[in-house]
């Protein structure tokens, strides 16, 4: 890791249920800690200033932009990333719906969008089209024109009706 002139710190993070103790420069964002400290590279850096949403992860179930979240703010909280969506039984219905609907083209925005969509379905199991558009409005996608993404989220919601997240 970093051996330059940075001040290093030990940070304790709970990510996808795993406890990590990681030595990183103290100015790291949550995204940098995840990607470069823990090696969870699923969350993406598209702009590094909170504009694109590719870095979206859940902090205690709420979507946050990890590229502008100081890593300290994640201590003592539950972090969930795209790597924590699938289970040994297989893909999460949202992931499956993204696959089945062609909702991931280049896939770079996909981890962030999945986390925003997951948070939506957690608080609203039967979202309207307007709810979906609103929930995804902080995640920029440049490939799809959003159409297939929206369909995938709606399909997943339909499939999950009556099933616990």
């Amino acid at each position: 890791m970093a051996t330059g002139a940075n001040v290093l710190a030990i940070v304790r993070l709970k990510v996808n249920g795993d406890e990590h103790e990681v030595g990183i420069p103290e100015h790291y964002t949550l995204l940098e800690a995840l990607r470069y400290g823990i090696g969870l590279t699923g969350s993406k850096q598209g702009c590094d200033k909170g504009d694109c949403g590719a870095c979206t992860v859940l902090l205690d179930g709420q979507p946050v932009l990890s590229c502008i979240t100081p890593v300290w703010e994640a201590e003592h909280h539950e972090v969930r990333t795209v790597e924590g969506l699938a289970s040994p039984a297989g893909l999460h219905p949202l992931q499956d719906a993204f696959e089945a609907n062609g909702a991931a083209q280049c896939g770079f925005c996909t981890p962030g969008i999945l986390m925003s969509a997951y948070a939506l379905l957690q608080r609203n199991s039967a979202p309207t089209r307007a709810d979906v558009l609103d929930a995804l409005s902080g995640n920029l996608c440049r490939c799809t024109g959003y159409t297939k993404i929206i369909e995938a989220v709606e399909n997943a919601a339909a499939q999950m009706q009556g099933r616990e997240l």
């Binding site: 330059g4 590279t41 969350s43 694109c52 969506l85 083209q105 770079f108 609103d134 995804l136 409005s137």
Partner: protein
């Protein structure tokens, strides 16, 4: 597992006999289905490895120092203090790599780092490799560069006028070094036919530049191992061209270089040529013997640009009373930015690609691309032809208005047809443009609604065509443009080694569908290895919408050789003719009696016993004898052209000038949809991107009055506004299949064509909505509001809607 057990297990995994019978009945078992993409599950689980996700042992981090001046001489660079900083392992400047490069061999005008002159704010002058990003950034601050500023050319007119120090040395003495390329081509008696025309429509159009903004910033890693082999991982869409240019610039043996393209997070033409970071990671790695990674910041992505060229277009269109196009006379000034990039081709494309889907009796275009001291423009989705298409389709709408002909009908009257040559002698094979018009007309209820909606709401139509790859490669050679190798394993697993570049469009999936179709294996038996120059044969890359057409044909070529072998071998066992051996759904079966069948792996084993190890090579090369004989005739020549028509519905808030696009109906002739789901994805993504350029996006730079001349006005994803889910209109995809005689199963492109009509369809819908003509992009609220202040607008709208106004015609254009 014993062979019998394996076969039994595969027989269980293969489709049941009913499904097999149904497959045998159909023309295709896999092609045309809505199958999932292959190699894509990692994109939903976070396990897909993009370039910045790669961490190599002992890897260093690189950064590039960039020019703060739009135009200046470099008097000196002092890197000694930076080199002395703890943690810094190497510093390079232009003098370490003083070889010019460029994607087009005739216009190589870029240096990996500037040697003695910078040409835009953001031009690279030095690069460092250090233990981490922070140390690399500190080192950049310690590099001292002494500049002498030179007057900058920030707009195309001043560049064209020339000056004491042009941006580049002229190719020939006495010429203006600010001109990249001038093309003037004339087909038929333009002046004569213009003077004979019943109606002449003239217009001045302006297309502001825009940029790609892939969500993944460019990233590259270089590693030079002790044996002298260089490996570069890069988020490129053209590994082959990068491979060649790395060898040339670094003076290395091309056989000792490996270029690997990891998963790429969007490109759209913005990663289709070599960039400074690729040379810098290579050179830094060579210098310090350790892997070096450079990841662009979002600002650097904006400065590296290569996006849509701003164009100033003076268009003239002559027609007879019935609306038949007699003459088209266009003059275009293209703002190229600091380097040539693909600019030579852009200049040609701005004229060449306009000559379909309509018949032009005569045609002239005069296009000039000039250098300016801004980031270089290049190929953005719909390279070179989106801007003139916008202008021309608005011209057609004005013509329809003037003549009182329905805008759909006017387009039908001028339809080129199939198996035709355009006025500039491009060969058009299949052509489903009329069906595209029919589809959007019907889906949008055009007949009942256009010119009949209340003030503030309207519909507009536009059409277009685009290439499915280019008949001539970027560097002259007669070798195949695309190739694959297929390897068949005893288990039934088939691996395709494909040169094509997957950038999200699905070029890893196309060979899997084709192999599953031809060899009858389940889709998940197919592995696709792509875009790694150590492993795969050459394909020229993901640009000009060439992959499906060219790699698809190469793949069919390779797969059919294997299919024939398997059929021959099985036929021998079954004592039937090879034509009776079907391969589908995991089975080899007797087409006359599907009850007689064997798991596909067994068929492969029989074939391997007869012919030896199974493998094949397939390739595609373009037709080379289907263009005119004039200079430049080869540019724009494509094996097939796609066609598109859109109808856009807009509502305009007359108080604010805010335009809302309610819906876009997209009809696209893609020849055959190998997978309709992926084709729709390309259509929707294209229409979205066109919509974004129409209403929101503009790549603009500060003027001297604004403080920092040549500084990007908004190099962030907040200030450079791209649409969110809330901004994007509803879109409906209508696939038209004209079945091209030369395409793979009849397929043509779908990735770029469907962008073109979005912009003029929206412009024409704004006219239908409120009676104002929007001839400059983007159609932002201030522009639309100002146009609405013109008191004639309401009259024009009334006239267009048959509500009587005597002044309407004079004001119509």
């Amino acid at each position: 597992m014993r062979p019998e057990e394996l076969r039994e297990r595969q027989a269980r995994d293969a489709v049941d006999i009913k499904t097999l019978e149904a497959m045998a009945e159909r023309e295709f078992a896999v092609i045309g289905g809505r199958a999932r993409k292959v190699n894509s599950v990692g994109k939903v689980t976070g396990s897909a490895i993009y370039t910045d996700d790669i961490v190599l042992p002992a890897m260093l981090h690189g950064k590039i120092l960039r020019s703060p001046h739009p135009h200046a001489r470099i008097l000196s660079i002092d890197t000694s203090v930076a080199e002395a900083l703890t943690g810094v392992h190497a510093v390079v400047t232009g003098r370490d790599m003083p070889v010019k490069y460029g994607i087009i061999p005739w216009t190589r005008d870029e240096e990996p780092l500037c040697v003695d002159r910078v040409r835009y704010i953001g031009d690279g002058v030095a690069a460092v490799a250090a233990v981490d990003e922070d140390t690399a950034n500190r080192a950049l601050d310690l590099i001292r560069v002494e500049y002498e500023e030179i007057p900058a050319f920030l707009d195309p007119e001043s560049a064209l006028a020339g000056g004491e120090v042009p941006i580049h040395e002229p190719g020939k003495p006495g010429r203006n070094g600010n001109i990249t390329k001038h093309v003037r081509l004339e087909f038929g008696a333009v002046d004569e036919l213009l003077s004979q025309s019943d109606v002449v429509i003239e217009g001045d159009y302006f297309f502001e530049g825009s940029t790609h903004t892939p969500i993944e910033p460019h990233c590259a890693i270089g590693y030079y191992d002790p044996t002298g082999k260089l490996t570069v991982w890069s988020s490129t869409q053209v590994p082959h061209y990068l491979h060649r240019e790395l060898a040339r610039v670094l003076d290395l043996d091309v056989a000792r270089i490996r270029v690997v393209q990891p998963v790429v997070g969007g490109a759209f033409g913005g990663k289709s040529e070599p960039f400074d970071l690729e040379f810098c990671v290579a050179k830094l790695a060579m210098k310090c013997g350790r892997p070096v990674k450079i990841l662009y910041t979002r600002e650097e992505v904006f400065y590296s640009h290569r996006g849509r060229h701003p164009m100033k277009m003076k268009f003239k269109l002559g027609a007879d009373r019935e609306g038949h196009i007699k003459a088209v006379d266009n003059k275009i000034l293209i703002d190229g930015g600091a380097y040539a990039s693909f600019g030579l081709v852009t200049t040609y494309y701005s004229g060449q690609l306009l000559a379909a889907p309509y018949v032009f009796e005569s045609y002239r275009f005069d296009s000039t691309r000039v250098y300016t001291n801004k980031p270089a423009c290049g190929p953005k989705r719909g390279h070179g032809s989106v801007q003139p298409r916008f202008a021309f389709e608005v011209q057609l709408d004005k013509l329809a208005e003037r003549l009182g002909i329905d805008a759909m009908e006017l387009r039908r009257r001028n339809f080129l047809g199939e198996q035709k040559r355009t006025v500039n002698e491009l060969r058009v094979t299949s052509n489903g443009f009329l069906q595209c018009l029919d589809a959007v007309e019907s889906a949008s209820s055009w007949k009942e609604r256009q010119r009949r909606l209340p003030f503030g709401r309207g519909l507009g139509v536009a059409g277009s065509c685009y290439i499915s790859g280019t008949n001539y490669p970027i560097y002259p050679n007669e070798m195949p443009q695309s190739a694959v190798q297929i390897q068949v394993e005893r288990s039934g697993r088939v691996t395709v080694f494909s040169g094509a570049s997957e950038i999200g469009q699905g070029s890893d999936s196309v060979p899997a569908y084709i192999v599953a179709e031809e060899l009858g294996v389940p889709l998940d038996y197919v592995r696709v290895v792509s875009a790694d120059t150590d492993l795969v044969p050459v394909d020229l890359g993901a640009y000009s919408s060439r992959e499906t057409f060219m790699m698809g044909n190469a793949c069919i070529h390779a797969a059919r050789q294997l299919r024939t072998q398997v059929q021959d071998a099985v036929a021998e066992i079954w004592q039937c003719t090879p034509g009776h051996v079907g391969l589908a759904g995991g089975w080899a079966f007797d087409t006359a009696d599907t009850a007689r069948r064997m798991p596909i792996s067994e068929a492969f084993n029989i074939a391997e016993t007869k012919f030896g190890t199974l493998g094949s090579t397939g390739w595609y090369n373009t037709p080379k004898d289907v263009h005119g004989s004039y200079r430049g005739a080869t540019i724009g020549a494509s094996p097939a052209y796609s066609f598109t028509a859109h109808v856009a519905e807009v509502s305009v808030d007359v108080e604010t000038g805010f335009v809302a696009v309610e819906k876009i109906w997209i009809a696209h002739d893609c020849g055959r949809a190998l997978n309709p789901m992926l084709v729709e994805g390309q259509m929707e993504g294209s229409a979205y991107m066109g919509f974004a350029e129409a209403l929101m996006e503009e790549q603009v730079f500060k003027t001297a009055d604004e403080g920092r001349a040549g500084l990007h006005n908004a190099p962030s994803l907040l200030d450079y506004r791209i649409p969110t889910s809330l901004d994007t209109p509803e879109m409906q995809s209508l696939i038209i299949e004209s079945i091209d005689p030369e395409g793979p199963y009849g397929a043509k492109e779908a990735g770029e064509g469907p962008l073109h009509p979005s912009i003029p369809a929206i412009a024409n819908a704004i006219f239908d909505s409120v009676g104002v003509r929007m001839d400059s992009l983007p159609f932002s609220p201030p522009r639309v509001w100002r146009a609405l202040q013109d008191v004639e607008a309401k009259n024009r709208w009334a006239a267009a809607h048959g509500l009587a106004s005597s002044q309407s015609e004079a004001a119509a254009d």
